[in-house]
Amino acid sequence: MSNKVQVAVFVNGKKVQKKVEPRLLLTDFIREECNLTGTHLGCEHGVCGACTILVDNEPVRSCLMFAVQADGCDIQTVESLNSVDGPLNVLQQSFSDNHALQCGFCTPGFLMTLTHFLIDNENPTENEIREAISGNLCRCTGYANIIKAVQQAAQILQKEKSNSSVVSAQ
């Protein structure tokens, strides 16, 4: 197959232009063409959520999209959450603090799902958190510590927000 198609996407803020086969999965595009291997493939049928990324700020299972469908889109992967070798962001740090990961394979998917969730849910209840992550499978942790991590992250983010609004009010 050599009917390649031009695709231009913004990945973590950088413009990437490539000629790809129309059948190339978006996940494979990110992993193979952009060399961003933090996005993992767990089931390739849209159930496990390990491959979750943000496409135009919406969580998407990248195994269910072709790269060509993302033409012109803004993509964020787990690698966007902190600077290279830099400190962890609040959510990442909360995951580590609360032992919310064991093998860590599903973690990038959880982080991207939750990055989106925490934008609109500043003070989520335990049930809201459970629902938010119910589309991401984790086989190691039994979820309890992930819920704790989200509660911690939400609290810190809320505090940071109120502090910065105080600062901006001054």
């Binding site: 996005t39 580590s96 629902e131 039994g142």
Partner: protein, 792 residues
């Protein structure tokens, strides 16, 4: 000194894993790497008449296509793993095992024996082209009668899964103490039941994967595999391919969960290295989820027929059990799971007359291997259902029957009168099972629950409580090693044979080393998951790494410390006994302000150092210790499940789950709690949701996550945890294993809770999972029975 052991030290592994910079097999890229795809059998049992690969070979971008005929006589089949299957002579004498040879060719030759068995492999520029080519391969099969039911498979004259395995019984053994049959005949109370546990698929979220990179110049090959057992993979490659073992390096990079089946060496781990050498190119294969559900080794699948004699006060007098393990098409692990079941079945209970017969049967299903618990969840489900059934027959509270039969603390160490799999006597080293039960009952306010249950019953609500306990042999040998060295920067580099899949080895072993050496965990770099790091290793399975590798780390650290203080004594002009090491500072008790660092000791210990060390001190800061445990350590636990059952739908709401467990010394409470919670989640899955289903023609019906149900965050409660610390007497740290425990008791606790919630219907749940449809069926049947009794 205990400074870091016992602390919830944050994990060193986390940074890379939360930033997406970890390295799993699929993430590795090598120049010129090709990708492989497998063609797998769509038939459960069939003769291969003809394979046409011509079109696939012609497709541009395809580099190789191999079928069984291409490897006949070249690649030896995978056989039973001797390191896990060998029966010690004294055990053989007790159980009289009959074992028949069985094996699997890495590509099917002449016939296929399970759906998903590798039949051909295609190697191409990338996976997309390889998949195209795989579609062009045409295989003609002649169907044979599939053996799906193990009881049918055992019948005289049934078709054979493996031609040399008579009656499809690959192994059988008989273990007996006392005289159960005689006791039954004399007893007024005898209970008979058939108890079944389903076939399961372990489903780590990372599927399996293999990369091999052959180097023509040195004849060496580097293999990366998502494995739990890099040393076993290396040995099996050497055995199957006839290569020099030391020319093979196997690395397990970040591994995304394992739970057992990633420890069974699979055909792909042999074929990919073979092809890499043949093509002189790096070759990669990453399993997809359909392949995982069909072809990755599965587990459990036992049927128990028990006969139990007991007194009117609930004392169990004898237990007889004939159980069958449906092992699928091959049994690679000998009597591992079956004997685990046999020696764990009595758990925390004293049952003087005990008779157990086991048969491991081959069928046309994916081969079985150990999976978290490895024969113990099956044993505990059987035993604790028996306890519950006895209690209900005698109209006693199950707690009373548990207590009546439990081993008491003052009876420790307790000899169960039989042997462990490793040949040692089965003697529980420490524990207080009645205290654990009482602690758990207090945690859930058992009495209060019973009152609430009565009240809610009046309102038509059915809540129930169920208990299960287990005693688990953990930390199985044969050994694990630690090789420690100090480098020029003064860091301690610890190489261990254990090979993690998320258990936090890099953190936990650094904690142990830090305490023994007087350093901080950051001063110690842990290297695991690679056959290149030390000569001998086993791997991470059987709740064994903290016990075996942890103890090796501890002992090796003490050896290194001895050497460091000897050299420091020479430099500081004092006796080694006077030397103190604290937070990396090495000084004489007399003069703490004048201190050395490990870097100073390193410089002085180098072979070329001037002045040289006395001849009795070998140059170089390097030590090795191999820890060989005397036998397993016995961890234990009590689990309590609280449920509400909707009679109309058969839906079970798991409202609370509580556990009290003993794993001896806790090295890192955060990690231990994580293991317990995670294990329980898998146990809940097997209690309520998970089951690998084959139809009567041996076709797999659960090939996607829409059919094989993994529990999500909506199904798993946050477990309430209570701890006991009864130190093991069998290793220097006093630790017991904890990895598998959580998965063992949930099926029994939850099934007992459901039975309790529906006690007025007197239903019996001896089969898993308790899906809504299965439970609704049982409820309907019970209601029908009751209404017939009423109408009479």
């Amino acid at each position: 000194m205990k400074k870091y052991v016992g602390q919830s030290v944050k994990r060193k592994e986390d940074y890379r894993l939360v930033t997406g910079t970890g390295q799993f097999v699929a993430d590795i890229k090598l120049a010129g790497m090709l990708e492989a795809v497998f063609v797998r059998s769509p038939q459960a049992h069939a003769i291969i008449r003809h394979i046409d690969t011509s079109k696939a070979k012609e497709l541009p971008g395809v580099h190789a296509v191999l079928i069984g005929d291409d490897i006949k006589g070249i690649i030896n089949p995978i056989t039973q793993f001797e390191s896990h299957s060998a029966v010690p002579p004294n055990v053989a004498k007790e159980i009289n095992p009959k074992i028949q040879y069985n094996d699997e060719s890495v590509l099917a030759i002449d016939k296929v024996v399970y759906v998903g068995q590798p039949v051909a492999v295609v190697v191409a520029d990338n996976r997309y082209i390889a998949e195209d080519a795989a579609d062009l391969i045409k295989v003609e099969y002649e169907q044979l009668k599939p053996m799906v039911d193990p009881y049918e498979a055992m019948k005289e004259g049934s078709p054979l899964v493996q031609n040399q395995v008579e009656q499809n019984i690959q192994m059988e053994f008989h273990l007996s103490i006392g005289d159960a049959k005689r006791v039954e005949q004399q007893s007024n109370h005898v209970l008979k039941a058939r108890v079944k546990t389903p076939r399961l698929s372990s489903n780590p979220i990372e599927t399996r994967g293999v990369i091999a990179d052959y180097d023509n110049r040195t004849d060496q090959i580097h293999v990366w595999s998502a494995t739990q057992l890099p040393f076993e993979v290396r040995a099996t490659i050497a055995h199957c391919l006839g290569w020099t073992e030391q020319n093979i390096r196997v690395t397990a990079p970040d591994v995304g969960g394992g739970f057992g089946p990633k420890g069974g060496v699979h055909p792909e781990e042999i074929l990919i290295p073979y092809i890499s050498k043949r093509l002189n190119r790096p070759v990669k294969w990453v399993e997809d989820r359909l392949e995982h559900l069909t072809s990755a080794r599965q587990s459990r699948d036992q049927v128990h027929d028990v006969i139990v004699a007991y007194n009117s006060d609930g004392t169990i007098l004898s237990l007889r059990d004939e159980f069958v393990v449906d092992s699928g098409a091959v049994n690679f692990f000998g009597f591992t799971c079956a004997y685990n079941t046999a020696y764990h079945l009595r758990g925390a209970y004293k049952i003087p007359n005990y008779d157990i017969k086991s048969r491991i049967v081959l069928t046309n299903k994916t081969p079985n291997v150990p999976f978290r618990g490895a024969g113990r969840p099956e044993a505990v489900f059987t035993m604790d259902r028996v306890i519950d059934m006895i209690a209900r027959k005698l109209k006693l509270d199950p707690v009373e029957v548990m207590k009546r039969n439990m081993i008491q603390a003052h009876e420790m160490p307790y000899d169960q009168g039989i042997l462990v799999k490793d040949g040692a006597r089965l003697i529980y080293d420490s524990g207080d099972y009645p205290a654990a039960l009482n602690q758990a009952l207090a945690m859930v306010d058992y009495e209060g629950f019973r009152e609430r249950q009565k009240e809610l019953k009046k309102a038509g609500k059915n809540i129930g409580i169920g208990i299960s306990s287990y005693v688990e042999g953990t930390g199985a040998g044969p050994f694990e090693g630690a090789l420690l060295s100090v480098d020029s920067t003064g860091k301690v580099i610890a190489h261990l044979g254990a090979s993690p899949q998320g258990q936090g080895h890099e953190t936990v072993f650094a904690q142990i080393g830090a305490d023994a050496l007087g350093l901080t965990p950051d001063d110690i770099v842990i290297k695991v998951g690679d056959t290149a790091v030390l000569p001998f290793g086993a791997g991470t399975y059987a709740s064994r790494s903290a016990v075996n590798a942890g103890s090796a780390m501890h002992e090796a650290s003490l050896k290194l410390r001895n050497k460091v203080v000897a050299i420091a004594g020479i430099i500081l002009g004092t006796l080694p006994d006077e030397i103190v090491i604290e937070e990396g500072k090495i000084f004489s008790k007399e003069n703490p302000s004048h201190f050395l660092t490990l870097q100073d000791i390193y410089k002085r210990s180098r072979p070329a150092a001037r002045p040289p060390l006395p001849s009795e001190i070998e140059p170089g800061l390097q030590v090795t210790h191999y820890f060989v445990p005397p036998t397993v350590t016995f961890a234990s636990s009590v689990h309590i499940a609280e449920v509400e059952v909707d009679k109309e739908t058969g839906f079970v709401d798991l409202q609370n789950y509580s556990v009290v467990h003993d794993c001896g010394t806790v090295i890192n409470p955060m990690i231990v709690d994580g293991q317990v919670q995670g294990g329980i989640a898998q146990g809940i899955g097997s209690a309520l949701y998970e089951e690998v289903v084959y139809n009567e023609s041996g076709q797999l019906l659960t090939g996607t996550y829409m059919d094989y149900l993994l529990p999500t965050s909506m199904e798993i409660p946050t477990v309430k945890k209570g701890h006991q610390q009864h130190l093991s007497t069998r290793n220097p740290l006093g630790v017991k294993g904890v990895g598998e425990g959580g998965a063992i008791s949930p099926p029994a606790a939850i099934a007992n809770a459901i039975v309790d919630a529906l006690s007025d219907l007197e239903i019996v749940i001896n089969q898993l999972p308790v899906s809504p449809s299965r439970l609704r069926g049982l409820i309907k049947e019970a209601e029908k029975k009751q209404s017939t009794i009423l109408s009479k």
